[in-house]
Subunit: 147 residues, 2 copies
């Protein structure tokens, strides 16, 4: 089965563009498209998330793993205590409980394919205490303030 | 963990470019790069295959599923009895036992990300009889002769 891609609006055949999340988590200007929802011996869901320029995904951690391939534009990702520039084609694996956030802070959209297991635990947000600790790192503080 | 992508030669940090297969299956001008090899609750391997212009992957079927995202160039894919044009961004899911082959028959390379379960069955080739049946379809015959 093929879902053809349409570059004009970063859409795929018969795939709806959804709200990123409905669970009250903080985020800004992110959409979600579900491209694959498990089949046979691949128990995984493939989503395409697009963060508008100036937007960001939820700062979160969880037991389940993410496998991400950047598909459009550029930005930055926070992984644990480190900030990395990311651009189209970069492959990012996010380990269990690794705190992470994507920010489209380079003046253009940041789109990425993100693979997860269909069966996964709920997202957790850092506590106020943890957030305070993170902001002690100047690089992380700059990242949070970048957009 | 990040593996940065290098567009100049379609390589990733610390990823070797390997021979596509060593099992004697027929193919032409295909390389393999393993970008992810399973972690936590994602029991899958992500490979990047690149078919040079004029090359083709093995015509095969198997029980395990493929999830493919075209990453470079264009070409065609045979899925069962049908031939489809494919281009960058197209998402292709290949069902258990569906016969398939990729051909870079549009004068440019065809590169694709391909997800499989780490634990999977061996590839099977069509029998001479099955191949003869397939060639009865003019469209499939043209596809086989396209490069």
């Amino acid at each position: 089965m093929i879902r053809h891609f349409h570059e004009a609006d970063y859409s795929w055949d018969d795939v709806d563009r959804l709200i990123y999340k409905n669970d009250g988590s903080p985020f800004k200007d992110v959409t979600r498209q579900v491209l694959f929802n498990g089949m046979g011996n691949i128990p995984c869901q493939l989503r395409y998330f697009e963060v508008k320029a100036g937007g960001y995904s939820t700062l979160e951690h969880h037991e389940h793993v993410h496998l991400v391939v950047v598909f459009r534009g550029q930005g930055q990702v926070l992984l644990g205590e480190h900030i990395h520039d990311v651009t189209c084609g970069d492959v990012i694996s996010i380990a269990p409980q690794e705190v992470h956030q994507f920010r489209a802070n380079k003046g253009e959209p940041l789109g990425f394919l993100c693979l997860v297991n269909v069966d996964r635990d709920k997202v957790k947000l850092p506590t106020a205490e943890e957030l305070k600790d993170m902001k002690q790192h100047q690089e992380i503080k700059n990242f949070f303030e970048s957009c």
